[in-house]
Subunit: 167 residues, 2 copies
Amino acid sequence: MELLEGIYTRRSVRQFTGQPVEREQLLEIIKAGTWAPSGLNNQPWRFAIVQDAAVRDNLAKLTKYHFVIEGAPACIAVFVDRRVMYHDVKDHQAIGACIQNMLLAAHALGLGSVWLGEILKNAEGVRTQLGLPEHLELMAVVALGHPAAKSHPSTRKGLADVLIKEF
Amino acid sequence: MELLEGIYTRRSVRQFTGQPVEREQLLEIIKAGTWAPSGLNNQPWRFAIVQDAAVRDNLAKLTKYHFVIEGAPACIAVFVDRRVMYHDVKDHQAIGACIQNMLLAAHALGLGSVWLGEILKNAEGVRTQLGLPEHLELMAVVALGHPAAKSHPSTRKGLADVLIKEF
């Protein structure tokens, strides 16, 4: 898949077939995430893969979008390691860049994915559910699978609405 | 350029030839940025293009990496519109996803770019220098141009260091 085409055709996918995702693909998606840039190259991202149905169902209880996690054969929970953070805004931006790489990589591999942020209201619940230490703070859950349906169309503001000034 | 290849071969480029960047390419890079996902699809990103040498030199004075901005034929300052923000962490992540799309798009177009974050210490100075309203907060400056040299090698932690757990 061509890079710009991938950026423009990626959509959030919330419905998946029952087909599992290959572990190799999940590792490729995480690897793509790690090639994002980060301030001072501190690489603050950490990941947990969840394919086990029981663990997934417990995660699902922590978001109002439970049906997405219940129906996704794989989830990757993305954390920030507070011990290596140096600047809240820049570290959160780096995590966003990392997640964008993951979504694009999934798309390039023919998978669908969606970035779940609402679950952050239960960030501590997710962390304890997964038995992870306190220095890991949940940043998002990415749900993944083989798309079950055509993705919905999406829209963006036009350039005139976002390009404020030119010098 | 293939998408995964682009993710893995993108590097920060800090030295540029004198060749200007086509305005069409800058608009394509901004458009790619806008196709990042954002929470509630609030699209909080706003942009200012700086090619004018005098304006660029004034910007350069606001960062210790002045030589990068002085030598870059184009800069795109990325702002967040505080009026449409709804969640600091998620909005900053969305900005990071947007910037990552921009860096990847530049790479796909054969340009080099670097994400400048240190200049955030003078965010207000950049905003007033560009004559922009208070609701726009600087998130980063992306410096762009035609690469003058081979990019430096970069490294990342291995998967074993970032993949904390699998279920």
